[in-house]
Point group: C2
Chain length 204, copies 2
Amino acid sequence: MPDKPYHHGDLRRALLDAAMALIEENGGPHGWSLREAARRAGVSPGAPYRHFEDKQALLVALGLEGLERLNALCAEEAAAREPDPLSQFRAMGIATVRFAAHNPVHYRVMNLPEVLMALQPHLQPTQDRVDQMVGEAVAQPGVRLDDAALLSLAGQAMVYGIARMFVDGHFAAMGVGPDQAEPLASRLTEILGTGFFATPPKDA
Amino acid sequence: MPDKPYHHGDLRRALLDAAMALIEENGGPHGWSLREAARRAGVSPGAPYRHFEDKQALLVALGLEGLERLNALCAEEAAAREPDPLSQFRAMGIATVRFAAHNPVHYRVMNLPEVLMALQPHLQPTQDRVDQMVGEAVAQPGVRLDDAALLSLAGQAMVYGIARMFVDGHFAAMGVGPDQAEPLASRLTEILGTGFFATPPKDA
DNA sequence: ACCTGAACACCGTTCAAGT
DNA sequence: ACCTGAACACCGTTCAAGT
C-alpha cells in the first residue's frame, strides 16, 4: 500500500463518515465544521468542494442516507406484520420511532428544515403510499371517522411527536428511555386507532 | 437626547431583539452571529459579554421568554374552557400548537436540546401540573384505559408532533397552513381522547 | 479529475484599556 | 459597571497552482 497517495480514493465517503462522527460527538447537527471533517479525512480545507457544493450539501447527503436506512427498516417491519393497510401504516410508524430512538442524530439531520426541503422529492413516494394505505383503511366497514386525511395526519403527528420527543431530549427529561420507544409507539398508535374505529362513548 | 452615549441603556434587551430578528430573517436558530447582533445594537463585538456568558446563554434567554409567553397563552386558553381536568389538558395542547404555528422560530429555539436542558427547571412546574390533571381525568368513572402516564405521554406526543410538523416544514410540504393549526389540534386531541374514553370496538 | 495551500471575509471569545 | 478595540484561534469558500 502506497503511503499518502495524492488522490484519496473515496474522499466523499470519508467526509460523510467524518461529518457523522463529529455530529455524534458534539451531539447535534451544528457542532461540526467542514474543515475538521477534511482534517479527519487527511485532506486540505478546499478538497471537500470537489465532492459537495457546500457544507449544507454534505448534510443533505447524510440526510438522504438516513432516509434510505429508514425506508429499509419500514419495509422490513411492514413485511413482518399483517398485510391489511392499517397494520402496514402502524408498522411504518413503529419502525420510524425505532429508527429515531436508535439513531437520534441521524434522525435530527434528516428533519432539519433545510435538509427536509432538499429531500422532499425523495419523500413524496412514501407519502403517496401512506395516503393510499390510509385511504384503503378508511374505506373498510365499521369506521367511525371516515376522514382519510385526518387519520393520516393524526398517525404521522403521533409518530413524529414520539420520535422528536426522543431526539430532542424531552423523554430523557421525563425518564423515558430508548428501550421504551417501540412499545410506546405500539401502544399509542393502537389507542389512536381506537379513536377512529371504536364506537363513541355513550354520553357524547 | 444625547447622540451616541457611551452606555447603551438597555443593551440586553436590544441584543435579544436583534438576535430574534436575525433568527427570523435567516429562518433558523443557527443562521445568526453574536457579532451581527452587536452590530445591530450599535456596540462592539465584546459588549454582549457583559450581559450574556456566551452566545448560547442568549439563546437560552430567548427560550425562556418564549416559555413565558407560551405559559401565558396556556393559562388564557385554559380559562376559556370547561374546568374539568381533561378539557384543561386539551386546552394547553391547543394553545401550544397555536403558539408554535404563530411563532415557529421562537418555538424552535425553545426546543433546541441545549436550550431545553437549561430550561428544564422552568418546565418542571408545568409538567407536574399536567401530570396531576391527567391523574384526575383518569380517576373519573367510565375510563377505558386507566393509565395516567400513558395518556399524558400520548397527549404530549400528539401535540408536540403537530407543533413540530409545523415548525419543521412538514405541514407546509403537505399543504397544511398555520390557519389550520388550531382546528387540527382540536380535532386530533379529541379523537385521541376517544381512544381512552370510548368503549372498544365490538370485534376486538 | 482531484487535491494543495494561500487568501478573503467572516466567526466566538478574551482582555487590557478607556469612560 | 459598562463598553471599546485589538488580538487569538478558528470558520466557509474560492482559486491559482500543482499531480
